[in-house]
Symmetry: D2
């Protein structure tokens, strides 16, 4: 008898996250019940009692959970934890809640480096000048150009994304300083120097903001910190706009103090007439860092590999497990579209 | 008695390539005679007979060279060898001719990667859309986005620049294929797979053209090769426009077959009304890849370190030596401005 | 009021695992109650109710556990899990059980490489010949010598030790094949090729056996597998003797089929008259791989860093967490002496 | 018409350095004249005038050299330059003299690391104790054990061997200090810290002596330097015994000040009754570090690749070129046997 999977992966879909071949294999090996989130409560007790895995992040209450007697793992393929299920009970019962957000680490890291190189070498601005026939040639075209090689890099937050970014920075031999209050020093050793926020903002040529939003860190990158940045240094924002005082960031660019790039915004989309749209020195991307077709298919592979482990009585290893202590602190808003 | 240096580094200057501190040290340790290139012939035989080093690439004929009895090394700080001195005689006499072009490897490699990431993720195009209020958000904004991670990278030419680029690509774990007819296979092993031009153009996601111009390779990247590139792949040109059929490259971008980026051009500057200026999918940079202030100062350091070795009777190691066999084949045009 | 630590780290001691300075800091920040394992039950209910952390692996029954109302984490500093506490209840209550065995990874990996290089180059045998005046010089002294560089390396088991070993092998650019049934393929990608046991024993120049003993894998490296090894290849055993058919290993060395090295033994110590003691081609070490003074102090640092995280309501990250699914499967015998 | 190779590779032979397949290819592509060194002078002027390449290091005088009108390259496959040909004339005429000594870098580096790990962990001594039934188990068997990880490593001399050793040490993340008076600082940057001899001997846990013998450095590692080494540190000698005060080294081991390992000796073989043979703490190898069958075949590949380049009018790149400035300073004794 095949194990049962309850599938409610909205806004993803099984077709988005699995290749055709893998999806066929999934349907072959499991009883896959596809439902919308609000239909779950209508399933018969017999069906619910058979469910071993859930793909998605549907709201679950205690009553429902009690009926899901064999549930072993919830695969949250959106990746931001919502406060819509009794996590304590899940942890007590040893039901894993895992997320597939690690797939976004590589594409976001690559965009982060692309934005940083653009700010360092004015790639976009020089291209626009070339289009307009106002380009400067050679040394004259490089007034603020700087190298990443051996430069002082600050990282704010160091999860999967930080690791992926540190990896692709390896060949640049950067001097990395890292701030992450959830991580012990030994965890960061060999990658960079654990540092205070103040130290990083005082002494970095390039700062990458990679911290997820939690109940504790909204707007923690404030105007005072930004004011400490060296003249001509740069900040690249990748995680969520809520972690930074966005108007202060815009202001620092307007004054010519720093240059900046961002993939995330206080409002998405930003108002059509917002002045940041025309602000020179502020490189703009419309929350595109992670949303690559290839990544969604990697999600399915992660789910598949952990299903194999779980079926053999082993713990999941590929997806990231939600933690009893921190699950309720995560506040990064889930996406409504892919 | 201090050793004598004849200094004629046009278009560089001693002030451009040495920090103030190092320049003072140079003047302290050596007799530095600063002349324009055409004044050298007017120097007295006594002075010429004292010259141990030349910084620059002034024209030298046999007569002059005979008078430079103690000459041990010519530091060509422009870096492209001109055909204005009797190299055979220099090599016979054991006079080193060295170039400082290696300083450009890192900045050019960094721009190369920046251009490649821009083409892979449409950084400039997405920024321009954001400015215009026509940006697409999330997955919708990423129709052609691709990852560099583990992608198929082709390198055409593999000198200092290739090495620097391969180094900063390390963290991307690319599958590198290399074409360089001057290098034996074992030299490339561990970095990439020595490959034919045809193989590289058939099967690369991203091609970097890094080959210097020689008497043998003008326009060797022809329309046929470009036509072999996979749909949607990209080419980044960094070395010299003469190595490629530039109209064919433009044409391939116009047709939507590939995307491209270039830092070098058949005419510099390009005509104001040249259609490539407005061509979407062709990222443009005005020969800015190497010309960073920081690099010019690195030149001076290279010269300084090799002066120390030469003074102790050792061969120069930091600058690159011109080779008897290939000196006359190098044809990359020297720059007239920095 | 200071949090309470119950300390029963036998056979370790607080003095062994903490530097004097850190131990002072520990006593300063925590109420440290030091007891022998069998005294715990005699502690008053008030004291037990205050205990937040346990350092050690004392036997705990349900009754005792119920009284340890505030217990958050058990630091097992011996590192092999014994079946002497109700793990299910611990996991249900969200009490972490963590081990510090990762400190042994580096020293064991270094000895593993040392043993492998010895087998590859006959370091010990050549030294003994030199002592006896029977040494052979140059090529004549290298009849079976082989390089590790680019050689075929097999790893059986891939936990912390495997990672440490793969790291110090990096510069050898080995072709690594890995067998670890508890790990998914993607976990191993970038390090080696996930492979079957048969494939590894068929085609490795050097096999490292690193697998912990579980309820499922005793003697899984049997005579048939050993018989598949290429003539002249080598096996290095580091984890536990129980995972291999030890007599078959000895036999293969006796026949001149392979060479071997081992740090672990079916009996420790081995009988004084056991023939393996005199067997040429079998390099012997007396369970010394991990027991370095420096490692014990690293244990204390790991405990200290995780205490800081736990005090702040964060999950432990430095020590390794026992898993609900696998805790009961671990069977590596704890050591009775350090 | 095939180019002519004069072959006199004593003490090597074509069969030693080429695989059968490559040797057939060589004979097919070239006219290979095999002679003993003293027969060369007897060859007819017509034959000598055809010779393009020499494999070996036969004595050549000016008269002979004049007759070798087309000579382009001498492949010294022994690798230590003897003072038996007029190097000045060779350099003047642009005839390359190249050596294949780089093949020994990897095997010597691997033995160096093996010896260092043996000294760090007493592998040989513990094995001998195990044979004698006097082994100590666990922590008790590790009184002087130390880790290489993150330890302070000194390198004396930094040619091909140093590079190979630094590469295989990468995963140990050592703190490397390097002394090499022929190399500028920038050459060493990224690998280690250029340092004085005194600094290295004062502050290294493990010193590797890798310097070739020159006219300038005999016995430069003297008793004073050795006396500076930290108690319990180690020295591994790989290059030539002439660079060190060997009796002082032995004395330091006898006193229990340091431990040492050596592959090279003041007399080879050492006298049968020399006390170093029985000296504990001194690990001994009989000049076996480089002489691996596999390396000799790599020599032939190096020669082959450079022949291909030279045939196409390009300079040799794989073998190492003798330098006008340093050729006459090299004094490492050639081997008389392989």
């Amino acid at each position: 008898m095949k194990p049962t999977i309850l599938s409610a992966p909205h806004p993803r879909s099984l077709e988005l996250i699995f290749t055709a071949k893998r999806l066929a294999q999934l349907r072959d090996s499991y009883e896959v019940i596809e439902v919308s989130e609000d239909e779950i409560a209508n399933l018969s007790p017999q069906v619910l009692a058979q469910v071993r895995y859930i793909i998605g992040q549907p709201p679950l209450d205690h009553l429902l959970l009690e009926q899901l007697k064999q549930l072993k793992c919830i695969f949250n393929v959106e990746s931001n934890l919502m406060d819509n299920m009794p996590y304590d009970t899940l942890f007590e019962r040893g039901i894993h809640v895992v997320t597939t957000g690690a797939v976004f680490a590589q594409p976001v890291a690559e965009l982060a480096l692309g934005l940083a190189l653009d700010l360092s070498r004015q790639i976009t601005a020089a291209h626009q000048a070339f289009e307009n026939g106002t380009e400067k040639w050679g040394l004259e075209g490089n007034p603020q150009a700087k190298l990443l090689f051996n430069s002082r890099v600050g990282m704010i937050g160091f999860g999967d994304l930080g690791k992926a970014l540190a990896t692709i920075l390896t060949g640049f031999k950067p001097q990395i300083k890292i701030y992450d209050p959830w991580l012990p020093n030994s965890f960061l050793s060999g990658i960079g120097t654990p540092s205070s926020l103040e130290d990083i903002f005082d002494s970095s040529d390039m700062i990458f903001v990679l911290a997820a939003v939690t109940t504790e860190n909204q707007h923690f990158i404030n105007a005072d910190l930004i004011a400490r940045m060296p003249q001509g240094s740069s900040l690249v924002l990748l995680s969520r706009a809520e972690v930074i005082d966005f108007p202060a960031l815009i202001n620092a660019v307007e004054k010519g103090h720093i240059t900046a790039a961002s993939d995330v915004w206080p409002l998405e989309p930003m108002p059509a007439d917002h002045p940041v749209r025309q602000l020179p020195g502020f490189l703009k991307s419309a929350h595109r860092a992670g949303a690559l077709q290839q990544c969604f298919e990697d999600m399915g592979e992660m789910v598949w590999e952990d299903l194999q482990l779980l079926d053999r009585g082993l713990p999941p290893l590929v997806c990231k497990r939600a933690q009893r202590e921190t699950a309720s602190k995560m506040q990064s808003k889930p996406v409504s579209e892919n």
